[in-house]
C-alpha cells in the first residue's frame, strides 16, 4: 500500500505540467484517484467538505445495478437451457455477458480517455455507469463488434460532440442502444435474438401479447407460458438484465435511499404508465388491437419499463433538473411508453424511445418550470 503511494508520487512529476507525459495527466489522475482519494485541502471557504464525491456517487449506481446484472447473467443461461442447473446456467450466462461488458468498458474507455487527453479534462466517472448500462440492455447473443460500434456512437455522438459529460442531451447508453437498434435491426428485434441457443426462438412477452389481432393480450401471454410471477421475477427471454422487475426494484431502493436518482421521476413514470394503460383498456373493446387490453400491471412487469425508468430515465444530466419538471418528465415517459407499445406495433418495446423522447423534452419542461419560478418570485416582490 505504501509502496504504491510512493510509486505514484514518484511518477507524478512526469505527468504534471512540464513533465514529458504532460498530455496524459488525465490518465494519471484517473489511476491515482482510483487508489487514493485526493489529498487536496480546501483553498477557500467552506473550510470543511462533505465526504461525497463523483466516484462514490457513480459507484453507488453500479451497486444498484448489481442485482439486475447478477440475475441477468443467471437468466441468460437459464433461457438458453432451463434444465441445465443453476451453476451451469450462471457459467453459460457469464460467458455470454462478461465479454459484452468487457468490450463496452474497453472500447468506451478508450474513447473516454482519448477525449479527456485531447480536450484536457479529467476522466469522468459517469462512464462507469454508461459502459455497464449498455450491455445490460442488449440481447445476450449480440456480436461483440456491434457492442463496440454502439458504445463508440454513444460516447462520441451521444456525449462528446455536445460537450462531454454533463452537457449531453440524451442518455449516452440509450443513444448507443438506439444506434444498434436502428443500424442492425436484425440483431435487436424479432424473436430469435433474445436467447443464446441458436435453435431456440423465444418471443418476448410483449411480442406475444401483440401477436394475434382480436385476441386477448393476457390470455395470449398466458398461452405462451409466461405467468405474471415469471415476468415479475424475470425468468423470461429479453435483454441481458432488463427482464427482472424484482431485481430492478432492489436497485431502485438503493438509488432512492441514496438519493442518487430522483424518486419523482420513477413515481411519475409509474403514474404515467398506469394512467395511459387504463385509458388504453377503456378503448380496448372498440379495436382489434390486443395491446389495448393489457392491464397496467402487465405493462409494468413486461419488457424493459422497470429497468428503463429506474436506471435510464433517472440520469440526472439528461432528465429534467427541477423537481416539478421531474414529475412531468416521468409521467411523460410512462405514458409515451404505453403509447408506443400499444399504438405502434412496429416496436414491441416502447421504453427506449419514450425515454429518448423524454430526454428531448426535458429542457423544455425545465424552461417552463423556470418561468413559473420567476413568476412566483415576481409575485413575492410585488406582495411585500
Amino acid at each position: 500500500m505504501g509502496a504504491l503511494r510512493t510509486f505514484l508520487d514518484r511518477i507524478e512529476p512526469h505527468f504534471s505540467k512540464g513533465g514529458k507525459w504532460e498530455r496524459l495527466f488525465p490518465l494519471y489522475e484517473m489511476v491515482d484517484t482510483i487508489f487514493y482519494v485526493p489529498g487536496t485541502a480546501t483553498a477557500v471557504a467552506p473550510h470543511v467538505r462533505d465526504a461525497v464525491d463523483m466516484k462514490r456517487s457513480m459507484f453507488t449506481v453500479i451497486i444498484a445495478l448489481m442485482p439486475a446484472l447478477v440475475f441477468g447473467i443467471y437468466n441468460t443461461g437459464y433461457q438458453a437451457d432451463p434444465g441445465a442447473g443453476f451453476l451451469q446456467n450462471v457459467m453459460t450466462g457469464g460467458s455470454a455477458v462478461v465479454p459484452l461488458i468487457l468490450v463496452s468498458y474497453i472500447v468506451g474507455g478508450l474513447w473516454e480517455v482519448l477525449f479527456a487527453v485531447i480536450r484536457r479534462h479529467e476522466v469522468n466517472e459517469g462512464f462507469l455507469v454508461t459502459g455497464l448500462l449498455l450491455p445490460m440492455t442488449l440481447p445476450p447473443d449480440i456480436p461483440l463488434w456491434m457492442v463496440a460500434m454502439g458504445i463508440s456512437f454513444g460516447i462520441v455522438i451521444g456525449k462528446e460532440v455536445t460537450g462531454g459529460t454533463g452537457y449531453n442531451i440524451f442518455n449516452p447508453a440509450l443513444i448507443a442502444r438506439a444506434f444498434i437498434f436502428f443500424a442492425y435491426p436484425a440483431e435487436m428485434s424479432g424473436d430469435p435474438v433474445w436467447t443464446l441457443a441458436d435453435d431456440l426462438t423465444a418471443a418476448t412477452p410483449l411480442a406475444v401479447a401483440a401477436s394475434v389481432p382480436g385476441d386477448d393480450a393476457v390470455s395470449l401471454v398466458a398461452a405462451a407460458g409466461y405467468t405474471l410471477k415469471d415476468m415479475f421475477v424475470g425468468l423470461i427471454p429479453g435483454s441481458v438484465a432488463g427482464t427482472s422487475t424484482l431485481a430492478v426494484l432492489a436497485g431502485a431502493v438503493v438509488l432512492i435511499v441514496s438519493r442518487i436518482a430522483n424518486w419523482r421521476i420513477m413515481a411519475g413514470g409509474l403514474i404515467g404508465l398506469v394512467t395511459a394503460a387504463i385509458l388504453a383498456n377503456l378503448l380496448a373493446p372498440a379495436s382489434e388491437n390486443t395491446m389495448l387490453s393489457l392491464s397496467p400491471l402487465y405493462h409494468g412487469v413486461m419488457g424493459g419499463f422497470a429497468f428503463g425508468i429506474v436506471f435510464m430515465a433517472t440520469d440526472p444530466v439528461s432528465a429534467a433538473q427541477t423537481d416539478k419538471g421531474r414529475w412531468i418528465y416521468g409521467i411523460l415517459i410512462g405514458a409515451l411508453c404505453v403509447m408506443i407499445r400499444v399504438l405502434n406495433q412496429a416496436f414491441a418495446e416502447g421504453i427506449m424511445l419514450s425515454i429518448l423522447l423524454g430526454n428531448a423534452f426535458a429542457p423544455m419542461i425545465d424552461y417552463f418550470v423556470l418561468r413559473q419560478n420567476i413568476a412566483k418570485r415576481q409575485k413575492a416582490y410585488a406582495k411585500q
Binding site: G39, T42, A51, P316, D323, D366, Q384
Partner: protein
C-alpha cells in the same frame, strides 16, 4: 407570533463547540486594521508610520465617499503600514500605549432619540468610524450613506458553526441594544426587523420597541440574514437596498450614542477540535488571533479561521480577527489520502448524503477536517445542493447562467437575493466539488460591474 419554519439546510455536527464560559482576553499590546475587511471602501490613508492615534481617531477614509471613515480601535502609535501588491494597504499596525485616550463624540439619552435628525445620527456614525458596521444587500458592501434602505435586518439567531448564542450574549449584557435599535429606526424611518430563533427564551427581545420581531426556525442557514430578507422583504433589483447589522454591532451603535465614545469591545467564540479551550472571549476590535488564543494551546496541524468554518477566512496567528467576524475556528488541517476511500463503507466519513455508513449513526465518529475528499468534476445535478438551500431559488440554473455570464437571466433567477454565505453549504455538499459559493460571488461581482 407566526414562526417561519425552514426545513432545508444542515447544522454541522462539528467537534469543539464553545461552552458557555466568558473570559476576558485582556489588553493586547498591538491591534491591526485590515482595510480589506470593508467591502466597497476604497481606502485612502490618513495616518503615517509614527503617528499617534486616539481610540476613535480616523485612520483611513473612502476615496469615493470621503466622509466614510475607519477609525482606530485603540490608542497608540502607528508602527507599521503593510503594503501589498499594487500598493494596496494590507494592514495598519497600532502599538497601544496605556493612555487609552479617546476621541469624544456627542452623548444622547434614549428619550432624545426621536428628536434627533437623521443627519445628526449619520454624521456621528460616520465620524466615529462605526458606520461600516452597517452593510447592505445586494452585494454585501458597506452601506451607502446616501441611499436609504427599504428595511434594516438584524439576525438574533445565528446558526453558523460555533456562532455566539444570542441568549447567552444578552445575559452578559445588553446595554445599548434598545438605543441602537431606536437610532437605526430614526436614521432610516423604515422597518427594523429583528429575527430571533423559535426557542429564544430571552424575554428581553419581546420587550424591545422600534423594531419588528420575527421568529425563524430550522437548520443553518436559517439564521443567515440573507435567508430572512428572502422570506420577509426580498430584494427585487440592484437598487432595492436592505441594510443589515449584527446584534452586537447594534449594541455598539447604542453605546456610542449613550456614552459618546467609540465602543471597541465585542464577545467572540473560540471553537474547534484543534484548540484546547473552547469558550466565549471578550476581545477588542482588531485583536490578533494569537492574542485571542493566548494561553489556549493550538495543535500543530491546525487551520486558524477568522469567522466560521463555512464562510471564514484562513489566517495566521498574527492576523487580526475580521471586522465582521465573531468566531475563531481552529480545525484540523489534513491532506491524508485514504486508500480506496470511495469504495470503503465509510463509517468515519462525514456526509449529508446517504452514501456512507456513517449516515446510519448520524455522522457520530466522523471528524471534519480541511480535506476536499474528492477531485473537481463537471457538475451533475443530483439535487444535493438544492437540499441545503431554504430559498425559492433554483441554484443549478442560476449557476449555469452565472457561468454563461447572462445578466438578464441571472437577474430573473434572483441573483440579487443571493450571497455567498447562504450558498456555503452548497459548496460543502456538492459531489462535483465545485466552489459554488465562489461562483455566486463571481456572479454578483459580474452583475455589479456590468449590470
Amino acid at each position: 407570533m407566526k414562526v417561519i419554519r425552514l426545513k432545508k439546510g444542515h447544522n454541522l455536527a462539528i467537534g469543539g463547540q464553545p461552552e458557555k464560559l466568558l473570559v476576558d482576553a485582556g489588553q493586547p499590546a498591538r491591534l491591526k486594521i485590515r482595510p480589506g475587511d470593508f467591502p466597497g471602501i476604497k481606502p485612502k490613508l490618513l495616518v503615517k508610520e509614527g503617528d499617534h492615534v486616539n481610540t476613535g481617531a480616523p485612520v483611513l477614509y473612502d476615496k469615493t465617499f470621503p466622509d466614510m471613515l475607519v477609525t482606530a480601535p485603540g490608542a497608540g502609535r502607528v508602527v507599521n503600514i503593510v503594503v501589498g501588491e499594487r500598493r494596496t494597504v494590507r494592514e495598519i499596525v497600532i502599538d497601544l500605549d496605556r493612555t487609552e485616550s479617546v476621541e469624544s463624540f456627542e452623548r444622547f439619552n434614549e428619550q432624545s432619540v426621536p428628536a434627533l435628525s437623521p443627519d445628526t445620527i449619520k454624521s456621528q456614525l460616520l465620524r466615529s468610524g462605526l458606520w461600516p458596521v452597517i452593510r447592505q444587500r445586494p452585494f454585501s458592501s458597506v452601506a451607502d450613506p446616501e441611499k436609504l434602505p427599504k428595511a434594516v435586518f438584524i439576525s438574533a439567531t445565528p446558526t453558523a458553526p460555533f456562532a455566539p448564542d444570542t441568549d447567552y450574549l444578552l445575559e452578559q449584557g445588553a446595554a445599548g441594544l434598545q438605543m441602537g435599535l431606536s437610532v437605526l429606526k430614526r436614521l432610516t424611518g423604515r422597518p427594523v426587523h429583528l429575527v430571533a430563533g423559535k426557542n429564544s427564551s430571552s424575554a428581553m427581545l419581546a420587550g424591545l420597541k422600534d423594531v419588528v420581531l420575527h421568529r425563524f426556525s430550522g437548520p443553518h442557514p436559517a439564521g443567515n440574514v440573507g435567508i430572512h430578507i428572502h422570506h420577509i422583504a426580498p430584494i427585487r433589483n440592484r437598487d432595492d437596498i436592505v441594510w443589515y447589522v449584527s446584534l452586537q454591532d447594534v449594541m455598539r451603535i447604542g453605546g456610542l450614542f449613550l456614552k459618546g465614545v467609540l465602543p471597541v469591545d465585542k464577545v467572540v467564540t473560540v471553537g474547534g477540535e484543534s484548540v484546547e479551550k473552547r469558550l466565549y472571549v471578550k476581545i477588542r476590535q482588531g485583536m490578533m488571533l494569537k492574542d485571542i488564543l493566548w494561553g489556549n494551546p493550538v495543535e500543530r496541524d491546525a487551520r486558524l479561521v477568522s469567522g466560521d468554518v463555512l464562510t471564514g477566512l484562513q489566517c495566521v496567528a498574527e492576523d487580526s480577527l475580521g471586522f465582521y467576524h465573531d468566531t475563531v475556528s481552529v480545525i484540523p488541517e489534513s491532506t491524508r489520502r485514504d486508500f480506496f476511500g470511495w469504495l470503503m463503507p465509510g463509517l468515519h466519513k462525514y456526509s449529508l448524503t446517504n452514501l456512507f455508513l456513517s449516515r446510519l449513526v448520524g455522522n457520530r465518529g466522523a471528524h471534519l477536517d480541511t480535506r476536499m475528499h474528492g477531485s473537481e468534476r463537471i457538475i451533475i445535478p443530483f439535487g444535493n445542493i438544492e437540499s441545503v438551500l431554504p430559498m425559492n431559488i433554483l441554484p443549478t440554473f442560476l449557476i449555469k447562467m452565472i457561468l454563461a455570464e447572462d445578466i438578464d437571466e441571472m437577474e430573473k433567477l434572483g441573483i440579487y437575493e443571493c450571497d455567498p454565505e447562504d450558498f456555503a453549504l452548497c459548496s460543502f455538499i456538492d459531489a462535483s466539488k465545485m466552489e459554488i459559493a465562489e461562483i455566486i460571488r463571481q456572479g454578483l461581482e459580474y452583475v455589479e460591474k456590468n449590470g
